[in-house]
Symmetry: C2
Subunit: 206 residues, 2 copies
């Protein structure tokens, strides 16, 4: 049920159309929660039917309609309920770790490719997240600016601090994943340097 609350979270910053919301989603929220537009538009309709948002319909051409969504009191209450509620920690489900645990079945070059891709992916993420943390600190993020405009200046530091904290968690995660991938690449090097038996997996159950 987090998509619903991710949408409400964005709408606590300001009223906007589904399209705008998707842009902000891709701009920063994506880093902690991603969703395609095919999931967002129906979910916004659902928020409306649940009475958590108000909708202003704006005609566009003969048939088109743009919908501007605003969170209402019930929406705010629902969002507040969600942030205050204890969310039980969920079981892990990580396909990369799963694959890594069975890399003896892969050709070394394919195992290496997967780990290189892992490293590359998190290095790119790290840059983006670090940049985002900096931008949040400098209040350079558009959605954050819209949010702060509607809040008492005395609250600003607190609001910013939590956002920095959340994304610093992603920065730390990226660093840990990079180190892990590097460890795996070193392991592959070692195993190839002193091959006890090459292509061993190929004949495993022959």
């Amino acid at each position: 049920m987090s998509l619903k609350h991710a949408l409400l979270a964005i709408l606590t910053a300001d009223s906007m159309s589904g399209y705008d919301l998707i842009k902000y989603f891709d701009g920063s929220v994506t880093f902690v929660w991603s969703a395609p537009h095919s999931q967002i538009y129906p979910e916004l309709r659902r928020l409306d039917s649940e009475g958590l948002v108000e909708v202003e319909e704006v005609a566009r051409g003969k048939k088109g309609t743009k919908r501007i969504y605003s969170i209402n009191e019930e929406g705010i209450e629902e969002f507040r309920r969600w942030v205050n509620e204890l969310l039980p920690l969920q079981p892990e489900r990580d396909p990369y770790r799963l694959k890594a645990a069975f890399m003896e079945w892969a050709e070394p070059e394919n195992a290496r490719r997967q780990l290189q891709e892992h490293k590359r992916h998190y290095e790119a993420s790290l840059l983006r997240w670090q940049q985002l943390v900096d931008d949040i600190g400098a209040r350079r993020v558009p959605l954050l600016q819209r949010r702060l405009e509607r809040r008492d200046p005395r609250e600003h530091d607190r609001i910013v601090a939590f956002k920095e904290f959340a994304f610093r968690g992603e920065v730390a995660r990226a660093k840990a994943e990079i180190a892990w991938a590097e460890e795996g690449l070193r392991l592959l090097d070692e195993l190839e340097a002193q091959p006890p038996k090459r292509r061993s997996a190929r004949r495993a159950r022959a």
Copy 2:
């Protein structure tokens, strides 16, 4: 499609019933991939209908049937295909980070409770994972023992090394999450020590 391959992965160690498989799942694979029995039994049937496993049916009482699953050549090929294939990195979706980013909407005690729970959860995970890495290194894990029995001793170190590596990734992740939760708890302490405005979220849009 990882459940399918997690099941095949376990069956590369040895033939077993769905029930046994679930036990092993809960024993170590759970740490990287979890699934309830309601998902596992149908998936095993599917593996059978796809011709990736052989099934031996054993009568139990008047109506009961126990099914012993064995991976076959096609299953091994499919599993090998999966480990060799490059799995594109997927977008993050982390409800805890999402909540953390909006903690200004929570009562401090509830934010603190969530982070304490986060810390407690990963501390427990850390112990179990560290224990598992040790047990893997000492070949003390039952499923691993069954696996090694059917493999050339010269391959053993390599097989063990990948499993240790995979779970060391989880150990690192747990440590990072504990550190993150501690950072969050410190932040809450600081904000409460010098409250710019208490219960601010409550009146945010009033």
